[in-house]
Amino acid sequence: MKYIEEFQDPELAGKLLDDIHATVTRPWALMEVCGGQTHSIIRHGIDQLLPEELELIHGPGCPVCVTPLELIDKALEIASRPGVIFCSFGDMLRVPGTGRDLFQVRAEGGDVRVVYSPLDALALARENPDREVVFFGIGFETTAPPNAMAVHLAAREGLRNFSLLVSHVRVPPAIEAIMNAPHCRVRAFLAAGHVCSVMGTEEYPELAERHRVPIVVTGFEPLDILEGVRRAVRQLEAGRATVENAYQRAVVPQGNPAARAMLAEVFTTTDRGWRGIGVIPDSGWRLAPRFEEFDAEHRFSVEGITTREPAACRSGEVLQGLLKPHECEAFGTTCTPRTPLGATMVSSEGACAAYYLYRRLGGTTTAPLEASTVD
């Protein structure tokens, strides 16, 4: 149980920071793909400690943030129906759809439940055979395997009242889209460690080579992130662009074969819309045809929904690394965690939420404190 403390050790962090400072000779922009990394960076003040030449750009790796508005509205519609138990992870409940969120549906009488695993939703389906139990299956390659497992089990047991509202997305096509975007400033990626613990690293070498961009598989504790930055910078300064695994305690090249097999059995890849970004080819998963009866969109008629994004929300640019949260006019004024315009302000992994929570105004933020005199 020592792993957390070990990977936050200030002395080791100082050594990594010294190395990074000594290595950097010119400006580089690095993108951390995962929202969990963004929060760790901001929460621990890592960006304040890096050389000025290094810019960390926050990527689209918050599954809550990139879930399309249309799907949120479908979720709200399904959750409002009588006889439905709508199950979701907690951080989806505050995400605004067109005009309301799942908390409001619950306050209006909808049976919306926070669960901690799709298997909990499956258990609810077994316990409530006269109710329709729907699980909101969102997430990257990390959450997709257990959701696939839930569908696999439902099919095996012949459960007729369980379905999945699917919005799964994949990281490699997102990296591809970012590198192909005009004005892309990203020169290296810190790849999401937990995604790679499932999928391995085999998808990345071709991407790194074709775009001449270093990709370093990185964890989430402060030392993980500093090591990821250190390796990315070393590659950039040396003119190299390869895939490195800086998260070897969790990631092996082939990933998790059992999880990948479950994904391959239950899902098939598909084009997917990303909130604020648009459709990215082959960037999502949907249920394979033989599991169609477990698709909530198929089971419930939720067509004809009209969606409306707030005009002032620029979360799409934030998700693409084109805009820092505090550079948005609405940030902290009309858009706060209390009155969010977009998902990036409410998700626990959202970049806007991280900036708001830790108050990174103007990029300068609170000046680093002098060493406390208290002991």
């Binding site: 957390i4 901001i42 304040q48 951080d91 901690y116 695993s117 609170t366 404190l369």
Partner: protein
């Protein structure tokens, strides 16, 4: 639901609806308990309701909470708790054996704390309109002469002390919540703190602020104090005692231990000159054995709590909005 989470939404509800409706100077202090002058005596008066799930959890139950929560609210004004009231709101169909277990736990906690349950009430709501058992307790206690403890007294130069490890209650309850059962070996810290406060007051009457960081945790409590006194608080993150297992559970769920509820800890704002003696007295008490200085009160950034991170960066520790929501992955 967010309005019951002890964060900014709860505060708004009180400030915008309840305080204007009720008025009154005693309420305006917005402390954990009201300080009242009655017949020459200074009384502390407090009430609290308990809607916890599950009803029994590692290290305690809703009955323990109902006693210790109100005793602690009284103790946070330096009062010696004397009497409690107890209201049971039962859902139709709840097993009487369960009610008896809760009542037994409540009585035992009251005896341990040395307070008497002097009056009570029972109501039953229809099946499906409750959550098994809700409890409400109110309490009164006597504030010793010369003691003036309230959030508005926090002053630059005060040292911030926490009486022990944080996050245990919230993690213990979460570990038994349906759908999230996991073994952490952590028990709730639920305890009555008035004897610890008495030991601190025996050292000095110059305790400026006491606060038990319950819902919303250390972060919410420090933000409330910083706002009430218009002072800044600087927290040294690595000085905050967080048990490994609490840290691990929080890391897994995407929670911040500073925002996790405690039921047997207090925060004290003490003048720097008194800090060492107060700390020593706290450490001599079983409930303060792990007491630690975690920060200080400053003139800068009034109303705001800023943490110096372990790596040397800084971050704002904001008032939580409502309850923390476990993240997706």
């Amino acid at each position: 639901m967010g309005h019951g989470g002890g964060g900014a939404l709860s505060a708004e509800l009180v400030e915008q609806i309840f305080a204007p409706a009720f008025g009154g100077p005693a309420l305006s202090a917005l402390a954990d308990s009201a300080a009242l002058e009655v017949g020459g005596a200074r009384l502390a008066f407090s009430t609290d309701s308990f809607v916890v799930r599950p009803l029994f959890f590692p290290g305690g139950s809703i009955g323990d909470l109902a006693v210790n929560g109100t005793v602690n609210d009284l103790a946070m004004s330096g009062a010696r708790p004397a009497y409690l009231s107890c209201g049971f709101i039962l859902e139709e169909g709840v097993e009487l054996g369960l009610v008896a277990r809760i009542a037994g736990a409540l009585g035992a906690a009251a005896r341990t704390a040395g307070v008497e349950v002097a009056t009570g009430d029972t109501k039953v709501v229809e099946a499906g309109r409750g959550d098994g058992v809700y409890l409400n307790t109110a309490g009164i206690g006597l504030i010793p002469d010369g003691v003036d403890i309230r959030p508005q007294r926090a002053a630059p130069g005060d040292v911030v002390i926490v009486s022990g490890a944080v996050g245990e209650h919230g993690v213990a309850v979460l570990s038994r919540r349906a759908g999230l059962e996991f073994e952490v070996g952590i028990e709730s810290d639920c305890a009555a703190l008035h004897t610890l406060v008495a030991d601190m007051l025996a050292i000095t009457s110059e305790l400026h602020v006491l606060r038990d960081p319950t819902r919303g945790g250390v972060a919410a409590a420090l933000n409330e104090i910083a706002a009430a006194a218009s002072v800044g608080v600087v927290l040294r993150e690595r000085a905050v005692p967080v048990p490994e297992q609490v840290a691990a559970a929080c890391s897994m769920l995407g929670l911040d231990p500073l925002y996790v509820a405690n039921e047997g800890k207090l925060l004290a704002f003490v003048p720097r000159a008194e800090a060492d003696a107060v700390l020593a007295a706290m450490r001599a008490h079983p409930l303060g054995a792990q007491a630690a200085v975690i920060g200080e009160c400053v003139e800068d950034h009034p109303g705001m709590v800023v943490a110096r991170t372990g790596l040397g960066g800084t971050r704002v520790v904001d008032q939580p909005l409502g309850e923390q929501l476990p993240r997706i992955c």
